[in-house]
């Protein structure tokens, strides 16, 4: 029940936000806390431009990638979460972003965010779990979480149009 209360409280806070940016920020903060990760980026799909963009990727500023690049791009393409505990050994990993930001990615987990039409509208990416590696439990929790926040995100996106 404690976890229920926490998620419900977060949900209420989330629903009271209007602007896309504040929604993304709150979602990222909560996601980090949920799985005890150092960084979180929320990528939003732009289908016309074939890109995934982040408004705020903490510490790094705006990131734009092609929908076919990196582990985030693969999450979009396969519609499946990705758990990568040795990114530098993963062919899909984009080390260029680490180079630019000076942040060293140790491990990563990504989950797709589906809209009501069951299309992937975004990807939640978490980096560097503070202790241990990301595991199946984190994946399960984030899968639930992505769906939980997707309504608010979709609404905020609709309002922006």
């Amino acid at each position: 029940m404690k976890q229920f209360d926490k998620i419900a409280e977060f949900g209420k806070k989330l629903m009271s936000l209007d602007a896309m940016e504040s929604v993304i920020e709150l979602v990222a903060e909560e996601a980090k806390e949920l799985v005890d990760a150092k960084r979180c980026s929320i990528f939003i799909v732009d289908k016309e431009e074939n890109i995934l963009w982040t408004k705020l990727s903490d510490g790094i500023g705006r990131i734009v990638i092609g929908t076919d690049s990196g582990i985030v791009g693969d999450t979009y393409k396969t519609r499946e979460p990705q758990l990568v505990n040795s990114p530098y050994e993963d062919k899909r990993f984009l080390p260029g972003i680490d180079k630019k930001s000076g942040f060293k990615t140790k491990n990563m987990i990504t989950v797709p965010i589906f809209n009501s039409k069951q299309e992937v509208m975004g990807v939640i990416q978490l980096l560097n779990k503070n202790r241990f590696d990301f595991d199946e439990k984190d994946l399960e929790l984030l899968t639930f979480f992505a769906n939980y926040v997707s309504g608010a995100l979709e609404l905020a996106l609709l309002k922006e149009k």
């Binding site: 229920f4 998620i7 949900g11 009501s116 639930f144 926040v149 309504g151 609404l155």
Partner: protein, 163 residues
Amino acid sequence: MESKRYTKLAEFAKELLSHHSIEKGLPLISEYLKEVIGADRCSIFIVDNVKNELWTTHADGVERIIVPRDKGIVGHTLDVKKPVIVNDAYSDEHFLQEIDKKTGYKTKNIVAVPIFDSHRNIIGVLELLNKEGGFDNEDVKFMIFFAHYVSGFLELITTLGEK
């Protein structure tokens, strides 16, 4: 987007999330949907995969009514995994006339929309009955959005609530 259907959502969601039981949540969801679409009745059917059945409640949200999952418009919605609009109930092959006979209620038109969980499995169906002039595509569009919007709450409450 200027539609009231969407602008009142945030208030509704906050109210919904302050309830910790499915018995209190379901009537809230029904009321909201019925009102913004302008339908006469709303039922929410929840899938019970253990017992392999569907259940819904009376307007009070408490007493459960069991429904077969392979029959009627709701069963058909589970089959096709897509929204179903029936604007002339009595000429539809899937419609179960027995229920009207039992309740004395006359169903004219129906719309049913599946609710998916985070694994994209169907966990329930939203059903509306009897809108003056029938249901249109805008209604269905909103219901698809709304089913998705409340799915997080329903999943939360069925996995973590009630314990």
